[in-house]
């Protein structure tokens, strides 16, 4: 495909790779226009922010597990001054810690990993394109996320501390500086997310256009690998949902800095004193806007993970994915229904209870396509020849942990039961089962699976398996007891639960969770180590170390600039494993079997 950009952008004709000018180091590695390099850049940035978010989680857990005790040296050195005094975490610092933990994880770790890394790296390769539709826009999408991340990091260390209103940033708490005591930190939070929103929207435009326009000949929509379907649908969600968040944040920043009253009702007082010049605003407006974005957002984080899991399960069971069309329609169903469930975050908000019933119905219904996917994954395993590689282990963890996370969602979907468990640790348990147990395990699976295509070497499988097992066990020890805490009435976002006589007896559970979380956090260093270690020491591999069918495995590892010497022609779907038409137990999409060449010629002659 020819790119339609400025003259300085090298054009890629079929046999002319060696004709374009040599790129400088800065052009090749820093401001690269190659989707694979940009994907790898997103990988490193998302892993960095995963560590930042993880460190903040350990701050939260330290306070809950060992209340009032100083964070042990040398870890107290990285604590912002506003968070702790002499290493002892302070109440406002605690509020900032869980706010920034979630913010970094959602916006700077999971989203960039699922979409920035996998979307960028996989979409052109798996559809047989040389690059994305808009390579410059792609490069900008990454480089705009960098100042957003820097702003967010800076906000941790400035005077007054970081944002402390929760990642959900409810108004009026977050709309008036005096309510949290946080000034610039909260403003930087908003500005950073506005900048990041631009990055995400740019990426979304690129993925949608690339999938619609740049598929190789024979690559019909229903022959696309499931990761591409997932990312395509996710990109549509991104495009429509992010502007809503951006609008809400603009309104919030205006309330904070320009004396507007989008979210401030009349009669508001601060420290018992009536505020001046407030009125006409609605606190619930913030919640509706935020969650109208926020619910599609969580599907943005899980759908690519589901696509990756489908791919890896099929490859390592050596079987076609069970129910390919059902899987595609489920992705579409989840995405569509995801727009009409946002009120389930607001059942107890003061919203009209009849509206609550409406959202309960839609929320119950959205459980069905997710259930269909789980059953289809089980069907994929049935009758297989299962290989327990590191990617497969992590993908299997996704299936099992997502099932737990999804089932715990049913409790919250029931408006009456939600009355009890809303804003308790039951919710925190659910969130982490789907985001860590779900998205992050899929991230580990995808990175270890596509690493050889990125770098030409395998990640060390022994380290990979040790990392997997420690993570899997420590993950369950950390997050399953949170359901117990929630059932016991333990609220979330509470600096010191021992204030409540009804919660003091749960302290041992909190301590156990903290110890498990520390093990879990440090175990991730194994994964990071493996990535860097294997860059130099990993086993070198050829085109197709996994014997997989999708187009990226027909070209060298690592893939070269422009991807394909000759744009491939696609003859069948991506999941023809153990086909009787092939001697091997796999059949690449671009390798025709008897009659397929003729069939394509006939279709193309019409």
């Amino acid at each position: 495909m020819e790119s339609t950009l400025t003259v300085t952008e090298p054009t890629h004709t079929e046999a002319a790779h060696h004709d374009h000018p040599k790129l400088s180091w800065v052009e090749k590695y820093l401001f690269s226009l190659d989707h694979k390099v940009i994907g790898i850049q997103f990988m490193f940035s998302s892993l960095f922010f995963l560590l930042v978010g993880g460190a903040l989680a350990l701050v939260v857990r330290w306070q809950l597990g060992f209340p009032g005790q100083a964070v042990p040296a040398p870890f107290d050195l990285i604590l912002p001054g506003s968070m702790a005094a002499d290493g002892v975490i302070q109440p406002n610092g605690y509020n900032a810690a869980f706010t920034m933990h979630a913010t970094f994880m959602v916006f700077f770790a999971i989203m960039p990993m699922m979409i920035g890394l996998f979307g960028n790296f996989l979409v052109p390769l798996q559809i047989g394109a040389r690059d994305m539709a808009f390579p410059v826009l792609n490069m900008l999408s990454f480089w705009i996320s960098v100042p957003a991340g820097i702003l967010m990091l800076v906000s941790l260390y400035i005077d007054g501390g970081a944002a402390a209103g929760g990642w959900t940033s409810y108004a009026p708490l977050s709309a008036v500086e005096g309510f949290t005591g946080v000034g610039l930190g909260q403003n930087l939070w908003g500005i950073s997310l506005l900048v990041l929103g631009v990055s995400s929207i740019m990426g979304a435009i690129n993925y949608i256009t690339t999938v619609i326009n740049m598929r190789a000949p024979g690559m019909t929509m229903f022959r696309m690998p499931l990761p591409v379907w997932a990312i395509f649908i996710t990109a549509i969600l991104l495009l429509l949902a992010l502007p809503v968040l951006s609008a809400a944040i603009v309104m919030l920043l205006m309330d904070r800095t320009l004396a507007t009253n989008f979210f401030l009702p009349a009669g508001l007082s601060i420290a018992g004193t009536p505020m001046e010049n407030v009125g006409g605003g609605q606190p619930l407006l913030w919640q509706h806007l935020f969650w109208f974005f926020g619910h599609p957002e969580v599907y943005i984080m899980i759908l690519p993970a589901m696509g990756i899991t489908s791919e890896i399960l099929a490859v390592f069971a050596r079987k076609p994915i069970f129910g390919y069309r059902a899987m595609v329609f489920s992705i579409c169903g989840i995405a569509f229904l995801g727009w009409i469930v946002w009120g389930h975050h607001m059942f107890q908000s003061g919203m009209n209870p009849l509206l609550g019933t409406t959202f309960m119905i839609s929320t119950m219904v959205i459980a069905v396509p997710s259930a269909i996917k789980v059953f289809n994954w089980l069907g994929t395993l049935w009758g297989g020849q299962i290989q327990f590689t590191v990617p497969m282990l992590n993908a299997l963890a996704f299936v099992s942990m997502f099932t737990i996370g999804g089932l715990s969602g049913i409790f919250m979907a029931s408006t009456a039961v939600d009355m009890f468990i809303h804003d308790t640790y039951f919710i925190v348990g659910h969130i982490h089962y789907v985001l860590f147990g779900g998205s992050l395990f899929a991230g580990f699976a995808g990175i270890s699976y596509w690493y050889p295509k990125m770098f030409g070497r395998m990640m060390n499988p022994t380290i990979g398996k040790i990392h997997f097992w420690i993570t899997f066990i420590a993950f369950n020890c950390t997050f399953f007891p949170m359901h117990i805490l929630g059932v016991g009435g333990h609220m979330r976002r509470i600096f010191d639960p021992n204030v409540y006589g009804s919660l003091m007896h749960l302290q041992p559970v909190n301590t156990f969770i903290t110890v498990s979380a520390i093990v879990l956090g440090f175990a991730q260093l194994l994964f990071i180590f493996n990535i860097f270690y294997s860059l130099r020491n990993g086993k070198k591999v050829g085109n197709n170390p996994w014997h997989a069918n999708t187009l990226e495995w027909t070209i060298p590892s690592p893939a070269g600039h422009g991807n394909f010497d000759v744009v491939p022609t696609v003859y069948h779907g991506p999941y023809e494993y153990s086909s009787p038409m092939s001697d091997e137990d796999y059949l690449p999409q671009s390798q025709p079997v008897d009659g397929e060449r003729a069939k394509l010629a006939q279709q193309m002659s019409h």
Binding site: P91, G166, L173, F179, Q348, G350, M364, F375, Y577, S578
Partner: protein, 298 residues
């Protein structure tokens, strides 16, 4: 331990705690004593019992599904692990199975939705009206629960309103309707043993009701992040027997009346009309100290 036995023990312990509270007339330390389970707290109201029943129904269904999925998965992982000389089954899917495992989960969630809707309606749409309940205004602010009773005139926002901070007193066996309005940010009124939770939002009024059959002592927790002191926004509910509540309420009204009475005049001639020890007088003496009392209502 079955439900009834658990409820009986909870009720007995609650009653004993309640008795101790009334004797002690103080913040109940006994609130800690009865919490040892790493599970649902005591059910102190009928609605709590119904919510728990629904919780257990969902727990049962999700546990069965979870066990089934995991069992099938483990069996498949063992049975279909790679062995030499085998080829995987070349099988793309089964439409009938797809229909079955779409319809059955759909039926289950629809059933759960219907049951949930009924309980939700009982809690929300069928809440007692102001005529059927003791109405209490709770106005949380950073970081305390400002609680108001209508007082002798039966009307709110009048000078004889009885105000407490963090101390909610209610009679047992009677509907209590709490009207919530936050003063600054969103807070949330949460009583675990009643299983009730309702956000208190500034600029609007929300409500929650409960009916506690037996005297006892409970904590109020704030369940919506409201700032620095969110974690220490603990309140107390003392559920009195009907008689004890009347006694407490009368005492509060008397104290209020004394507070509102104009200061005793120097000569005895003016002393008589100033005798407001009785409950019902509100007009003249009230207007004198109106500016005063409204300042004490934050």
């Amino acid at each position: 331990m079955n439900n009834r036995l658990r409820t009986f023990i909870a009720g007995a312990v609650t009653f004993l705690c309640g008795a101790a509270v009334l004797l002690a007339q103080d913040v109940p330390e006994q609130v800690t004593a009865r919490y040892t389970r790493w599970w649902l707290p005591d059910e102190a109201t009928a609605i709590a019992g119904k919510i728990d029943d629904l919780f257990y129904i969902i727990l049962w269904i999700t546990s069965v599904v979870l066990v089934l999925v995991f069992a099938v998965m483990l069996v498949f992982l063992f049975r279909y692990r790679r062995r030499t000389g085998r080829r995987a089954v070349y099988y793309h899917g089964n439409t009938r199975l797809e229909i079955i495992w779409t319809v059955i989960p759909a039926l289950i969630v629809i059933a759960l939705g219907i049951v949930s809707r009924q309980l939700w309606a009982e809690i929300k749409s069928q809440a007692p009206t102001e005529e059927d309940a003791l109405v209490i205004n709770v106005r949380p602010r950073q970081f305390q629960w400002d609680i108001f009773y209508a007082g002798a005139d039966g009307k709110f926002d009048t000078p004889d309103d009885i105000a407490t901070i963090n101390q909610l007193h209610v009679p047992s066996g009677r509907n209590v309707l709490v009207h919530l309005t936050a003063q600054d940010v969103i807070h949330s009124f949460f009583v675990p043993e009643f299983r009730i939770k309702q956000d208190a939002v500034p600029g609007m009024m929300t409500q929650i009701w409960f009916n506690v059959p037996n005297p006892g002592a409970y904590e109020i927790a704030c369940a919506e992040l409201c700032g620095l002191g969110h974690y220490r926004m603990r309140g107390y509910i003392t559920v009195h027997s009907a008689d004890d509540f009347s006694a407490w309420y009368s005492e509060q009204m008397q104290k209020k009346a004394v507070e509102l009475a104009p200061p005793p005049a120097a000569d005895t001639a003016a002393a008589a009309p100033a005798d407001t020890a009785g409950a019902a007088t509100a007009d003249t003496s009230a207007s004198v100290s109106q500016a005063d009392t409204s300042a004490t209502n934050p």
